[in-house]
């Protein structure tokens, strides 16, 4: 299921029906996707879904079995990797250990024959952009993981590429550094305005930085949409369960509405149209209140996560659900309390089962 976004202007990058087969294995199974100029698109999915393959084909480090890749309206499918105008940031280890930070950033410029003074100036500008202007004379092994990735970003942007490619740039870093750095990357990307393709398996990361997110699974694009739409209106069960948390709750569908826990809930496109199934309900769509004679479940555990809390409840009909409440709301609940669990009016996707 692909959703091609129509753009008024020529897309900066276009994948057209890209296939990549390794014998029996289909790493990419017909990928078509457009990137608008200046847009940051994230390819999100589990390992093996084809997202990295797509990125490497765009970079020229891998060759598609069939299909075309266009950049700025030009077919570059057969252009060698070192002639494509792209900057790439790898997951790890990509800085040249024998060169200083400044020399690393200026490397692409040196290859293009830019003279020394201009190279140093540009490298300095890039390092300032990523906040490392004092580290120019150090070597890669003297920097932290986060700093190394920032240098890699500066190096990729120094050559003013048409497209910026990021291959899971944060996956090898500590959690806290990851959050800081992803905001950095977004800030830099917005400032420079380069069209960017970002690959990751971390859905929180994807939602935080992207203009649009393309969720991939087994070589195919499940859905491409802005983060809010992806979250609120998942097009397929895979997207609904991969992005954010979902409760699988028994539901009855008739006449365009689903009945979950006795309440009527609107249906999302793609749902089962008739009969019984499972509704994918977001934790924040569930309400949990202390029961006053109308209990339909018991609290199993309360997990305090700072601003919010997740409350696990065992319903009378046996289902185990997780609700997300403000911590203030959850503070009055304890394990074994009898409670009333309600389903909110947000639209749900109902899957067969």
């Amino acid at each position: 299921m692909t959703t091609a976004v129509s753009t008024q202007t020529e897309p900066a990058v276009a994948f057209r029906d890209l296939h990549r087969h390794y014998g029996e294995v289909r790493a990419l199974d017909g990928l078509s996707l457009d990137l608008a100029p200046g847009e940051l698109v994230v390819l999100l999915g589990p390992s093996g879904c084809g997202k990295t393959t797509a990125l490497r084909i765009l970079a020229g480090l891998d060759i598609a079995t069939s299909g075309t890749v266009m950049v700025g309206g030009r077919d570059i499918t057969h252009v060698p990797a070192n002639k494509r105008d792209m900057g790439m940031v790898f997951q790890a280890y990509s800085l040249f250990p024998h060169l200083t930070v400044e020399e690393n950033v200026a490397f692409g410029l040196k290859l293009r024959g830019v003279d020394r003074a201009k190279r140093i100036k540009r490298a300095g500008e890039m390092l300032e952009l990523v906040g490392l202007s004092t580290q120019g004379n150090r070597y890669a092994h003297q920097l932290s993981g986060g700093q190394q990735q920032r240098v890699a970003l500066a190096r990729a942007l120094a050559i003013e590429p048409a497209v910026l490619l990021l291959d899971e740039p944060l996956s090898a870093l500590d959690a806290k550094v990851r959050v800081q750095l992803r905001d950095e990357i977004r800030r830099v990307q917005l400032e420079v305005g380069t069209t960017t393709l970002f690959v990751t398996h971390d859905q929180e990361e994807a939602l935080a930085v992207a203009d649009r997110v393309g969720v991939m699974f087994q070589g195919r694009l499940e859905q491409v949409a802005p983060p809010t739409e992806l979250y609120a209106r998942p097009a397929t069960p895979f997207v609904a369960e991969f992005v954010g948390l979902s409760n699988r709750m028994r539901a009855e569908v008739s006449e365009g509405t689903a009945r979950v826990l006795g309440a009527a809930v609107p249906l999302l496109e793609g749902s089962v149209t008739q009969g019984s199934g499972y509704a994918l309900v977001r934790p924040e769509s569930l309400g949990v209140t202390a029961a006053e004679g109308d209990a339909n479940g018991r609290v199993v555990s309360v997990a305090f996560l700072g601003p919010i809390s997740r409350v696990q409840c065992r319903l009378d009909d046996g289902q185990l659900v997780v609700a997300q409440l403000t911590s203030a709301g959850a503070s009055r609940l304890s394990p074994d309390d009898a409670v009333r669990v309600d389903v909110g009016a947000d639209a749900v996707l109902v899957v067969p089962g």
Binding site: G60, L61, M88, F90, G108, R112
Partner: protein, 283 residues
């Protein structure tokens, strides 16, 4: 914990330390002391005897032999290592070359000497074939048993040694470096000259030094091939051990052995320094 309690675990190391002391340190000290002694008194006579023309010539030839065989081994060994690295980690080619290299590098010099005698000796297979079929005499005046022959036979174990020592460095070249340089616009030549060669240079130089030390300390090959004269230091030592007096000194063998330790230790020290640089980059 009391001082004694903290020291006790270290006592378990005593057997090992004692063993090494007796069978490694004592001989070494004996050599060092012997180099500075004659008839039980301290003297520099043996050391100054090292400047004797015979000893100096032997030293010069040893250095020449070691340097030439090290360079040949380094260049060809690096090429061979590169050829098997490009085949993939688990390929049968890689594994067999490494095994064969292990054997040939450790191979006693005697066996290698006979290998070459069997090939290009007076009645060697190749010599005979060339003589009978093409009328070419490659044996000549017996260059196999002099310096040129030694260089050839040394190459036979230096090249495999290079493969073993240099391969880890080649393995340490991360694919991301090639991909990153390609992505930034480098063609093959630029990648090699600006990224790969500079990164491999310390490892290459270090390995060359190791090969030099290996050749300088080698004895068996020369002992098996050279029966007349003592062109290199190890053979001069052999003379010194078998005869009472060499060049007018009883303990010249000790002095020569001391000279060997000094040269080899200096070279290995430099190798150690280069190894550290490599380890940092090519971890």
């Amino acid at each position: 914990m009391s001082r004694l309690a903290r020291l006790t675990p270290s006592l378990a190391l005593l057997p090992f330390l004692l063993y090494l002391t007796v069978f490694l340190l004592v001989p070494t000290v004996t050599v060092v002391v012997g180099a500075f002694a004659e008839n039980g008194t301290f003297t520099l006579a043996n050391i100054t005897a090292l400047a004797d023309p015979v000893a100096l010539t032997a030293l010069r030839t040893s250095v020449l032999l070691s340097a030439v065989s090290a360079v040949i081994g380094a260049v060809f060994g690096a090429v061979l290592a590169y050829l098997i690295v490009s085949g993939g980690q688990a390929s049968w080619l890689r594994r067999s070359v490494i095994s064969l290299s292990g054997v040939l590098a450790q191979c006693g010099g005697v066996m290698l000497a006979f290998a070459f005698i069997a090939t290009i000796g007076y009645s060697g297979v190749l010599t005979v074939w060339l003589r009978d079929h093409l009328g070419i005499d490659i044996f000549g005046s017996g260059w196999l048993f002099a310096l040129p022959g030694l260089i050839l036979v040394y190459a036979y174990f230096q090249i495999p040694l290079m493969v073993i020592v240099f391969l880890p460095a080649l393995d340490g070249i991360k694919p991301q470096w090639r991909e990153a340089s390609v992505n930034l616009g480098a063609n093959g030549w630029q990648y090699w000259t600006q990224v790969a060669f500079p990164l491999l240079r310390p490892a290459f130089l270090g390995a060359t030094l190791l090969l030099f030390a290996n050749a300088f300390a080698a004895y068996a090959t020369a002992a098996a091939l050279v029966s007349q004269g003592n062109p290199i230091v190890p053979l001069l030592i052999r003379s010194g051990l078998s005869s009472e007096v060499l060049l007018g000194h009883q303990h010249l063998a000790y002095a020569l052995a001391f000279e060997m330790i000094v040269v080899v230790a200096a070279v290995m020290g430099m190798y150690g320094l280069l190894l550290r640089r490599t380890a940092r980059w090519l971890r």
